[in-house]
Subunit: 186 residues, 2 copies
């Protein structure tokens, strides 16, 4: 019902300064200085996704997450990370219970929960939009939680679920300090 | 990973003749003579969706469906029905296991299976595309199975799951007999 995509535009403008772009699995993304998050724009590249309904999370898991989750845009969360991910064709050919079983065996929910509320996160879906990635995962945290965030990534990448990841790029960001005003709507 | 949407364009052209457009829940769609299925076109209205991964079906259910399912475009399947559907905001706010439980209690899988292989069906997703519907459901059957198809619809609409349907329009079609060639790519 009239979902609005969020656009991540890498180029010369935006509230986030890009400090590194690392290909983790498969090809990388072009270099750029800044990342804008919000309405569509022009730049070296643009990825778009939609905050959609829960696909694997159960009601019990949702209820356990809610009290410890953190919102985006906290004043102290000066570090951001955008990790676009695609899963394999074989993954998408699995039935719902087969994908959920791998997600559960991999501890995706419980590992993620350990890093709350320090690491705020949001998941955008883009597989049905026909883009080059299936998901855009977004994280924000204070600089002192950088080590915890790196540990979270390492643990997830060691799971059975990650064997089904076909492409993954890590885009590291810091909140720009030059006082550039956000673009309208950003 | 580069999904290609299918477009349903109602207007003056197309392989299917529109015999009725009935609003079931909420507002209707504009009248038109023909429906083309395939690449984008121009017409009174156009709905687009993507054949995507299974969202509720388990591996056991998928394996039970496969041997009895029918392909689209059988020579005898001269009747078609397009039913665009949206579910409520409350439905989409439910966790995955809550939606699956309603789907299972409603017998969605078992009711549908009873009408195979007579009624061929395909589900297109469009919620993440930002259109006015969440799904486009498509059915094809031979004229002598019209009664069975009507029974299938009636039974599904009596289920708990259907209380979460916010909008539903029924577009009845017959394969056009005037020999109009399908448009390129149709």
């Amino acid at each position: 019902m009239l979902a609005q995509p969020t656009h991540f535009t890498a180029g010369a403008h935006g509230r986030w300064q890009i400090t590194a772009i690392e290909p983790v699995i498969g090809g990388t993304l072009p270099a750029a200085d800044r990342l804008a998050v919000g309405p569509p724009g022009r730049g070296a590249w643009q990825l778009s996704g939609i905050g959609s309904n829960l696909r694997y999370t159960t009601a019990d898991e949702r209820d356990a997450l809610q009290p410890v989750s953190a919102p985006l845009d906290r004043g102290e969360a000066l570090h951001g990370v955008l990790i676009p991910i695609s899963k394999s064709t074989a993954w998408w050919a699995l039935a719902q219970d087969e994908r959920r079983a791998i997600y559960a065996r991999s501890g995706h929910f419980s590992i993620g929960k350990e890093y709350l509320p320090e690491v705020a996160r949001k998941l955008y879906h883009c597989r049905d939009l026909g883009g080059e990635f299936d998901f855009l995962t977004w994280f924000e945290f204070a600089p002192e939680h950088q080590g915890a965030f790196d540990k979270l990534l390492k643990r997830l990448r060691e799971t059975e679920e990650w064997r089904h990841v076909a492409r993954e790029v890590e885009v590291r960001l810091v909140r720009a300090t030059d006082g550039e005003a956000p673009k309208p709507g950003e």
